[in-house]
């Protein structure tokens, strides 16, 4: 398989170097695969995604996306990637359709294709009847659907999805899961997925990487990760690799109080 995303000692430090958001990341993602990046809160997942989308620049190291260098070929990288950010911006005074047209125009989608594609995506996400309502009146889940549609509007070969199902209802989450599968298996798209929801990662990803305190501590298929950490499930493996709270500590806070 052709390597599509390659990072070489990619690092991003903040302050005077004391905060290592991402530290010497060496990672390869292959064409057509669905790669999951797992990690506790603040581990460096979003920073990695932002670096690979040329939104921020690395402190050191480099990376290439489909052969384009993130340092010297920013525009080419941006053109071939779609991003669903963790805290995405959204213009609430636009309707869903207007927002998709706006995003499509930003990605230079031709005017003769754009309206039809926006309508098709809204229909896919079950928002066709709400297409003309302003986004300010949408629920969090509906906004998330619009944002996923916006990430797809220019039909990019590489998709970065940061927590795509976290605010969706079960039916929409299932639809997004199926969509990710289809994009990968039928449309040959490469998916870079960040999620806390381990069953989704387990089901969708061909390989996963676990990042902790900015460092990639494990990479491989789900079964590789489980066996590497002498665990029986991905959840156990994740806790074993990144640390967790012991069961005896869970209710320790009640012991000194007469809480009823």
């Amino acid at each position: 398989m052709k390597p599509l995303i390659i990072t070489k000692a990619l690092s991003k430090y903040y302050g005077k170097g004391e905060i290592k958001a991402v530290d010497s990341l060496d990672l390869t993602v292959y064409e057509g695969e669905t790669f999951g990046l797992l990690g506790p809160n603040g581990a460096g997942k979003t920073t990695t995604v932002n670096l690979l989308n040329c939104i921020i620049r690395p402190t050191s190291g480099t990376a290439s996306v489909n052969g384009f260098d993130i340092l010297t070929q920013e525009q080419e990288v941006k053109r071939i990637t779609g991003l669903l950010a963790e805290s995405p911006g959204l213009f609430e005074k636009l309707s869903a359709r207007e927002f998709l047209e706006f995003m499509g125009a930003l990605y230079d989608v031709p005017g003769d294709i754009l309206p039809r594609r926006a309508d098709d995506l809204l229909t896919l996400f079950g928002l066709d009847e709400r297409r003309d309502y302003l986004l300010e009146g949408y629920s969090r889940g509906m906004k998330q659907k619009v944002l996923i549609a916006a990430a797809l509007v220019h039909d990019p070969p590489i998709l970065f999805l940061d927590e795509p199902t976290s605010t969706l209802d079960p039916r929409a989450a299932l639809m997004v899961k199926d969509l990710i599968k289809d994009l990968s298996q039928k449309a040959g798209r490469t998916i870079f997925l960040c999620s806390h929801i381990l069953p989704i990662v387990e089901e969708l990803c061909d390989r996963i990487g676990i990042i902790h305190q900015g460092t990639l501590i494990a990479v491989g298929s789900v079964s590789d990760i489980i066996s590497q950490s002498n665990s029986t499930t991905l959840e156990e493996a994740f806790i074993a690799l990144t640390g967790g709270v012991r069961e005896s500590e869970l209710l320790a806070w009640r012991e000194d109080e007469n809480v009823t």
């Binding site: 525009q75 941006k78 959204l90 047209e101 309502y133 302003l134 300010e136």
Partner: protein, 515 residues
């Protein structure tokens, strides 16, 4: 009623003083000390500078109506302040926390009022300290001063309570949808206009002169006597006329003020249930209609490609926010009021001057939208190819289609209204204003990219507003002194363009590197 009002008041006070957390323990003592110095030394020293004028004024016919107007202004300001602070940032989320707890709505209302009261008492003390100092030259006795202070505190506390109740009721009503929150922000800005109009009318509109006429003065006084604020004002004018003597007719005025405060408290408490109702009034969401002539024209102006769509979308993002439209109305009103009351132009140059002072504010209001929608919206542009260039191009063209057009329209109106204006002069001044304001638009956009402001109440927003507004005023006045009227045309406009382009390029550089 339980003690929960105290818990809420304490929490409210802590929230309001959170920025000075480290000195909060000593804060009341510091404030008391500073206020004592102000009341005992600074206010009398300021009054000393104008003693003879003040004595003459307080004994004049104009004072008969001026004092009730002044009192009414203070009364309305103290109603307006809590209302406008709430309207600027309607947050009903915290109300959910309070309402979901076992707390009586009356406790919440009283707690919120008492929580904000200490900070407003500082303002009341400054005003009363100054007012009592004003009466020193007239020979007003200590007892009379004490009555004036009591009257002021009762009147302004009543106003503050009324403002708090109105704010709580409005918050419930306007906190329900994004649209109503937006409407609230728009109203908060427009509420300033009447106060500015009265202030300008006093400053240059001949209102004081009109009040010197006994007929006008008595008429206004009679009308204002219906307001509770005038009962306190009556005490002041009576003491000014009879220093040293506390007459019996003070009693009904003071009693009236106390009764008014009691009645306001009672009515407010009875409205508390409504003020903290979380019932949803509507499920209707705002809907975008098909693009009308306006947006279609804007899209055509941007061409047939993606840029036309981007430009039309940027206009929708801006125009659909009532708060943005209220800025345009506010600034046009300000320009009109300045021209009517202060400048009273006989030719076009004063209009050009007013435009150079006022329209930088509109340029700032329009440009600020680029960052006020949040850092995340900026990152939408950062993600796309040549996003920085696309953002700057669309926002600049949007600004140019708004700010110079509004300023140019006002200039054209002035050409029509000022008699004896030639067509040549009209064209020349209109083009000059458009060019000047176009430069301000670049400057403002550059500043917001250079120093992004994500909140209207933050220091960055104020700084970005002050730089073009103050800078333009000083620059225009300086060149007027140095080069005369022609300097504005041949010096100010080219220099403003150079400054605008430079700052915009710096802003672009900063935005490209933003993380």
């Amino acid at each position: 009623m339980s003690h929960k009002w105290f818990v809420i008041a304490r929490n409210d006070y802590r929230a309001r003083t959170s920025s000075i957390r480290s000195i909060r323990r000593y804060f009341p003592f510091m404030v008391l000390g500073i206020l004592a110095v102000f009341v005992l030394y600074i206010a009398p020293a300021i009054v000393d500078l104008f003693t003879s004028e003040l004595v003459a004024f307080f004994l004049s016919q104009a004072a008969v109506a001026f004092v009730p107007i002044l009192f009414l202004m203070f009364f309305l300001v103290f109603i307006w302040l809590p209302v406008t602070f709430m309207l600027r940032d309607v947050r009903s989320e915290q109300q959910v926390l309070l309402v979901s707890a076992p707390v009586n709505p009356r406790d919440i209302l009283l707690g919120e009022f008492l929580g904000e009261l200490p900070l407003y008492l500082v303002m009341i003390t400054i005003i009363t300290g100054f007012i009592t100092a004003l009466f020193d030259p007239l020979g007003v006795s200590g007892a009379q001063k004490a009555i004036i202070v009591v009257s002021f505190v009762i009147t302004l506390t009543s106003a503050l309570w009324i403002g708090t109740v109105i704010a709580a009721l409005l918050r419930t009503r306007l906190g329900r949808t994004s649209r109503s929150k937006d409407v609230a922000k728009a109203i908060s800005l427009l509420l300033v206009v009447p106060f500015v109009a009265i202030m300008y009318a006093f400053m240059g509109g001949g209102l004081i002169g009109a009040l010197a006429d006994p007929k006008t003065s008595t008429l206004i006084k009679d009308i204002l006597s219906l307001f509770p604020s005038s009962w306190g004002a009556g005490i002041i004018t009576q003491f000014a006329a009879h220093p040293g003597t506390v007459g019996i007719d003070v009693v009904p005025r003071l009693a009236g003020s106390v009764l008014f405060l009691g009645a306001s408290l009672l009515i407010g408490m009875n409205l508390a249930d409504r003020a903290y109702s979380m019932e949803t009034a509507t499920f209707t969401a705002a809907r975008a209609g098909p693009d009308g002539v306006f947006y279609r024209t804007i899209q055509r102006l941007g061409g047939t490609g993606p840029f036309g769509i981007l430009l039309a979308s940027t206009f929708k993002i801006y125009v659909r926010r009532f708060q943005n439209l209220s800025w345009i109305v506010y600034i046009v009103a300000l320009a009109a009021l300045m021209n009517i009351f202060l400048m009273k132009p006989q030719d076009l140059f004063p209009v050009l001057l007013v435009s150079s002072f006022i329209f930088p504010l509109l340029a700032v209001a329009v440009a600020s939208d680029v960052t006020l929608r949040g850092k995340e919206t900026l990152f939408l542009y950062k993600k796309v190819p040549f996003g920085v260039e696309k953002l700057i191009k669309t926002r600049l063209v949007q600004g140019w289609l708004l700010v110079p057009v509004v300023a140019g329209t006002l200039m054209v109106l002035s050409v029509k209204l000022i008699p004896g204006t030639t067509l040549m002069a009209g064209v020349m001044y209109t083009v000059a204003v458009i060019l000047l304001v176009a430069a301000h638009t670049m400057l403002a956009l550059g500043l917001f990219l250079l120093k992004p402001a994500y909140d209207e109440r933050g220091g960055e927003f104020m700084m970005n507003m002050m730089i073009p507004a103050q800078g333009s005023a000083f620059f225009v006045l300086g060149s007027l002194v140095a080069f005369g009227e022609t300097g504005v045309f041949y010096f100010v406009i080219p220099v403003m363009w150079v400054v605008g382009i430079t700052v915009l390029l710096l802003g672009k550089r900063r935005f490209s590197r933003m993380e």
